[in-house]
C-alpha cells in the first residue's frame, strides 16, 4: 500500500506541476480551452491525491495525519479542495492559476519530509487528533485561498490590461466578498481546530490550554483574522486594507505551521 502511495504521490506532484503550467499558459495566451484543461487536470490531480491519502491511511492503519509529511501533503490536498470549490462555486478560473503555485510549493515541501511510517506514541492515539487535524487542513486550505485572493486583489489594482481582467476576474467589491467567504470558512474551521485541540489536550495532558508556542500562534492567527472581520465592517476599510490583513493572517498561518516547529520548542514539535 505504501508503495502505491509513493508512486501516486509522485504522479500527483507532476500533475499539479502540469496544471500550474497550463494555468500560466492560459493567462499568457488567453485561450479558454487552456483554462478548462488546467481545471480538469487539477481535478484529476485532486482525485489521485485523495487516493494516495487513502492508500497511506490503509497502509499505516490509521488516519494519515500525524507527522510532518502527512500533514504537509494533506495541507496541499486541503488547499486544492477549497480552491476547486471556490473555482466552481464562484466561476473563478483565474483563482486556480494563483493557487496552483502555492499548492505545488506545499506538496514540494511534503516531498522533502521523511515518509517513514512511525507507530504513534500513546498521547497521539485519540479520535480527537483526527478531528483536530482534519479541521486544521480545511482551515489552512481556506486561509490559503484567502491569501491567493488577496494577492489577486492587490495585483488587480495595479494591472492595466483591463479587458482580460474584467472578463475573468470579479470586480473589487466581489473579490472582497469572496475573500471574506474564504476567511470566514477558515476562521470557523480554525475555531473547530482550536476547540477540538483543547478537548484533546485536556484528555491527554490534563490541561486544555498551556500556552505552548503552537497553541499560542494558532491563537495569534485566530485573533488576526478576527481583526480582519472587524476591519471589514468599518466603512472604507474593505478592499485594500482587508486584503493586506488577510495576507498577514496567512503569514501567521505559515509561521504557526513551519516556523513554530523550527524556531520554538513545545509539545507540538512532533507534528
Amino acid at each position: 500500500m505504501l508503495q502505491i502511495e509513493n508512486t501516486l504521490f509522485t504522479i500527483v506532484m507532476l500533475i499539479y506541476f502540469a496544471a500550474m503550467i497550463l494555468y500560466f499558459a492560459f493567462i499568457a495566451a488567453r485561450k479558454e480551452g487552456l483554462a478548462r484543461a488546467a481545471v480538469a487536470l487539477q481535478c484529476a490531480g485532486f482525485a489521485l491525491h485523495t487516493a494516495a491519502l487513502v492508500c497511506r491511511g490503509i497502509g499505516a492503519g490509521r488516519l494519515p495525519l500525524t507527522n510532518q509529511y502527512e500533514f504537509a501533503t494533506s495541507f496541499a490536498w486541503g488547499l486544492c479542495l477549497v480552491s476547486l470549490a471556490f473555482i466552481f462555486w464562484y466561476k473563478f478560473t483565474v483563482l486556480g492559476a494563483f493557487a496552483a503555485p502555492v499548492i505545488f510549493l506545499i506538496i514540494g515541501y511534503a516531498a522533502m519530509q521523511s515518509k517513514a511510517v512511525h507507530e504513534l506514541m500513546p498521547a497521539l492515539r485519540s479520535n480527537w487528533l483526527g478531528f483536530h487535524v482534519s479541521t486544521a487542513i480545511i482551515a489552512y486550505g481556506a486561509f490559503g485561498v484567502s491569501f491567493v485572493l488577496s494577492i489577486i486583489f492587490l495585483l488587480r489594482d495595479r494591472m492595466k490590461a483591463r479587458g482580460f481582467l474584467d472578463s475573468h476576474i470579479p470586480n473589487r467589491e466581489k473579490l472582497d466578498a469572496i475573500s471574506y467567504r474564504s476567511v470566514s470558512l477558515g476562521l470557523l474551521f480554525l475555531t473547530f481546530t482550536i476547540v477540538t485541540g483543547a478537548i484533546w489536550a485536556e484528555r491527554a495532558w490534563g490541561s486544555y490550554w498551556s500556552w505552548d508556542p503552537k497553541e499560542t500562534w494558532s491563537l495569534v492567527t485566530w485573533i488576526v483574522y478576527a481583526a480582519y472581520l472587524h476591519l471589514r465592517i468599518r466603512r472604507g476599510w474593505q478592499g485594500r486594507a482587508a486584503a493586506i490583513f488577510a495576507a498577514v493572517g496567512f503569514v501567521c498561518v505559515m509561521f504557526t505551521y513551519v516556523g513554530v516547529n523550527t524556531f520554538l520548542p513545545g509539545i507540538h514539535s512532533y507534528a
Partner: protein, 421 residues
C-alpha cells in the same frame, strides 16, 4: 469598534511576544542567552511569565469589558432589528440593495433564491405586495460569538485562579496521599503495553481512590482516558523506573524501601546518611568520556546511578550494577527488582465546563454569523400587473446581488461591470 480592533492587534502582539521569549527562566539564563540588559528588561516587563503578567491580564480585562458592554448596548437594537427583519411593513418601507423591474411572475424568483413562500401584504398606499424573509437567526451571530468568547475567557481565568493540581507516583501496591485533599491513591496495577517492535502502545494504571471518610472508588486510567473520582480528574501522566533498596548493618537487615528514580532514603538509624537514587539504566552502557546511557528499554544490564550524602556533603556518586553492593562503613546497600512506576496527575478545575461551553457557543456564533445569512425579498405590483422585485441581505453584499439578479433572469455580468469605477 476601532478600540476593539486595536485591542485585538495588541493582544496578538502580546501573545507573540510571550511565545518568542522562552518562558519561566531565570535572570542568569536570559543574561546568558541574550545580554544582561535584555535580561533585566525581560524581568522588569514580566516577559518571563508573559501570560500571567499584569499587562496581559489587563488587556484581557479590557477585552471582556468591551465585549460585555458591546453585547449589552446592542441587545435592544438587535431585538428590534430581529422583529423588523420579518415585519412586512418594515420590509416594504425599505428600498432594497438590489431591484429588478417588470418581472411577470415573481414566485419562481423567490423559489430560486430559496426564500420561504412569500406572504401577501400591502404597501402603505394599498398596493398589493409579496414579502419573504429568512435566516433571522444570523443577525445574532456576532452577539453569540462575543458571548462565547466572554464565557471562554471567564471560564479559563476562574479555572486558572481556583484549580488544584497534584501528582503522585508509585508502583503497584503502594498508597500515596493526594496533597491536602484527605484522599489517597492506591495503585493496584500498572501495565506498559508494548508493540512487537518495542514501542509503547499504551500505559494503563488501575487505581483505587480512598476518600476522607473511608469510601473508595476504583478506575482504570490510561493516556487519553482519564477518570473522574471524588470530583477530581486522574490522568495517567508518565512513567519511570523504581527499584527496591535494601540496607543492612553489620550483616543484619535494617531497612527496605521502594524508591522511584529521583527519590532518596535516610538510613534508619543514621539520618545524616542519605542514599539518593538518581537514575536507572535498564540496559546500561558507559562509553569513555560520555554520560551513562541505556542501550534499550529492555532489562538486559540494569545499572543504578546513586549518590551518597553525609551531613549534606556528597561523599560519593557511582553506578551500581545488579548484584553489586555498596559498602559504607558498617552499612551495605543493594538495589534490585527494578520495575516501572506510574506518575498520576490529579486535577480539580470546576470551570473547565464553562470554558468548554464558551468554545461551543463561539463556534455556534461563527456558524450563525457566516452561514446563516439573513435575507429579505419582496415584490410590489406595478400598475401594469407586472412586479418590481427588491432584495436586501446585509451580509450577502455583492454575492447576494449576483444571486438575486441571476434568479430574476438578468444575465450574469450585466449589472456588475457598470457598477465598477
Amino acid at each position: 469598534m476601532r478600540f476593539a480592533i486595536i485591542l485585538l492587534v495588541v493582544l496578538a502582539l502580546a501573545c507573540s511576544v510571550g511565545s518568542l521569549v522562552t518562558q519561566g527562566q531565570s535572570y542568569a539564563w536570559y543574561a546568558q542567552r541574550y545580554s544582561e540588559r535584555t535580561a533585566a528588561l525581560i524581568l522588569a516587563l514580566h516577559l518571563d511569565d508573559a501570560f500571567h503578567s499584569w499587562w496581559f491580564i489587563l488587556i484581557n480585562a479590557f477585552l471582556c469589558v468591551n465585549l460585555l458592554l458591546c453585547n449589552l448596548l446592542r441587545l435592544p437594537s438587535l431585538i428590534a432589528r430581529t422583529r423588523a427583519e420579518a415585519d412586512p411593513r418594515a420590509i416594504l418601507a425599505g428600498k432594497g440593495a438590489v431591484s429588478v423591474e417588470n418581472v411577470a411572475a415573481p414566485e419562481p424568483v423567490f423559489q430560486r433564491l430559496r426564500m420561504p413562500k412569500p406572504a401577501e401584504a400591502e404597501t402603505e398606499d394599498g398596493t398589493p405586495a409579496l414579502v419573504s424573509s429568512k435566516n433571522r437567526a444570523g443577525l445574532w451571530g456576532a452577539w453569540v460569538c462575543h458571548l462565547g468568547i466572554l464565557l471562554l475567557i471567564v471560564g479559563f481565568s476562574l479555572g486558572q485562579m481556583t484549580q488544584k493540581q497534584y501528582a503522585v507516583y508509585g508502583v503497584p501496591g503502594q498508597t500515596r496521599p493526594v496533597g491536602d485533599t484527605g484522599c489517597a491513591v492506591s495503585i493496584d496495577d500498572f501495565d506498559i503495553g508494548l508493540r512487537a517492535d518495542d514501542t509503547v502502545e499504551q500505559y494503563t494504571a488501575r487505581i483505587t481512590v480512598l476518600g476522607p471518610d473511608g469510601q473508595s472508588e476504583s478506575a482504570e486510567i490510561s493516556v487519553n482516558n482519564p477518570a473522574r473520582l471524588f470530583g477530581m480528574k486522574f490522568y495517567q501522566n508518565s512513567t519511570g523506573w523504581a527499584a527496591t533498596v535494601r540496607v543492612t548493618e553489620g550483616g543484619e537487615p535494617l531497612q527496605e524501601e521502594i524508591l522511584c528514580a529521583g527519590e532518596y532514603l535516610q538510613v534508619a538509624d543514621k539520618p545524616d546518611l542519605v542514599i539518593d537514587f538518581n537514575a536507572f539504566y535498564p540496559d546500561y552502557v558507559q562509553r569513555a568520556g560520555a554520560m551513562p546511557e541505556t542501550a534499550s528499554g529492555q532489562l538486559n544490564n540494569p545499572g543504578y546511578l546513586y549518590s551518597v550524602y553525609y551531613q549534606e556533603q556528597m561523599i560519593g556518586m557511582n553506578v551500581l550494577m545488579a548484584g553489586e553492593t555498596l559498602t559504607i562503613d558498617d552499612y551495605a546497600v543493594t538495589f534490585s527488582e527494578p520495575q516501572p512506576y506510574t506518575m498520576i496527575q490529579i486535577k480539580e478545575d470546576h470551570f473547565t465546563g464553562v470554558a468548554l461551553a464558551g468554545g461551543l457557543v463561539t463556534m455556534l456564533g461563527l456558524l450563525l454569523a457566516f452561514y446563516v445569512q439573513p435575507a429579505r425579498v419582496w415584490a410590489i405590483r406595478q400598475e401594469d400587473g407586472r412586479w418590481t422585485l427588491r432584495g436586501e441581505s446585509r451580509k450577502g453584499g455583492a454575492i447576494f446581488r449576483d444571486q438575486f439578479l441571476r434568479a430574476a433572469g438578468v444575465k450574469d455580468g450585466e449589472n456588475i461591470a457598470e457598477k465598477e469605477e
